[in-house]
């Protein structure tokens, strides 16, 4: 692309560095900002800079936070002895949006994947082990993606916490609400029969 303005060109290049944003989309976004009020654009830029400089990670669960301890860990109304183990902040946001979970989290920062060079040491697993032992956690709910890497991570953590007295569970796998039975993959369908639920508990969740 040829630009007649260096200012325009650098703004497009900055946007195009973001994942999933190509040069054409970047140009569209910049031309939109050009038509937007200057004070709004200033607010946009300053918000990003401030977010990056001031945001913290919770020292207990590694979730994003505005203080040393995140608002979920600091909330005494939540069950502190219940930990949901997730890969990234993204899953915390997804689960929080359901407004159904009342425990705490632990963000691993990834999953064990030897092929990608990610071992237990690169993740927040040691901190989880220490936390569970120190806080006498009652239950760990694994909410990891159902891949070999996810299963390996569950297996490793479970082994490290052997004898800690904590109970280990994973989120339920099965046919999604609204999902058509005939289009479900065989593995999911087979497991959903093996792990079938009493009708009362199914109805109670509706």
């Amino acid at each position: 692309m040829q630009f007649s303005s260096d200012l325009l060109e650098s703004a497009v290049n900055e946007f195009a560095r973001l994942p999933g944003i190509g040069k054409k989309t970047a140009l569209r976004l910049v031309l939109h900002l050009l038509k937007t009020d200057a004070s709004m654009v200033q607010g946009f830029g300053e918000t990003l800079i401030r977010m990056r400089q001031e945001i913290k990670f919770c020292q207990r669960c590694f979730n994003v936070a505005d203080a040393d301890i995140c608002s979920i860990c600091a909330n005494s109304l939540r069950k502190q002895e219940l930990i949901c183990v997730v890969e990234t902040i993204r899953e915390v946001i997804a689960i929080e949006s359901t407004q159904q979970y009342n425990g705490t989290y632990h963000v691993l920062g990834g999953i064990i994947s030897p092929l990608d060079g990610v071992g237990p040491d690169q993740l927040n697993i040691e901190a989880l082990v220490t936390r569970v032992q120190k806080e006498h956690t009652q239950e760990l709910i694994f909410a990891l993606n159902p891949t070999i890497q996810g299963d390996t991570t569950i297996y490793y953590i479970q082994k490290r916490l052997h004898g800690s007295g904590a109970r280990f569970t994973t989120i339920a796998r099965g046919i999604a609400f609204g999902g058509e039975l005939e289009y479900a993959d065989e593995m999911t369908l087979a497991r959903s029969i093996t792990n079938r639920l009493p009708v009362e508990s199914y109805m109670a969740g509706r």
Copy 2:
């Protein structure tokens, strides 16, 4: 979406205001910035703010510029008596990227569209009329989209410039290079036969 950090939430909201960016994409972009070096994010924010505050529009052709006159108008090697009339800056960038055009531009800032409440007064048409008469422009090349609005705009400008001595042309319409004949729409195909070219001139352009 539920966020455990206000800083994160405002950054996501700022991104989600951009056209074509939903909340999920905004979150993905913000989480990417969180992993990026703080000085890079600062550069990103400052570039946007500076672009919006310092960018100018060329007083002659209304293209974006870093000075009062854009680099195309200021370039004495380009044919100043040739004006390509376009709707937005986007088309200037597209045509410049071909590196085939050696004249100047005039950015209308839109096209005449009574249904959307856009009349000639909302566009940079008066400035174009003045410019053509003052500069004794030899040719106006209309590079507008082939819609009723585009045709209306061409018709209006041509009428306003009647007797100015300028020649009026439009960019060629036809089957795109690499386009399959059988998938072309009838109108384009019919016009491409009516406006057929001598083989020599076709070959010369390859």
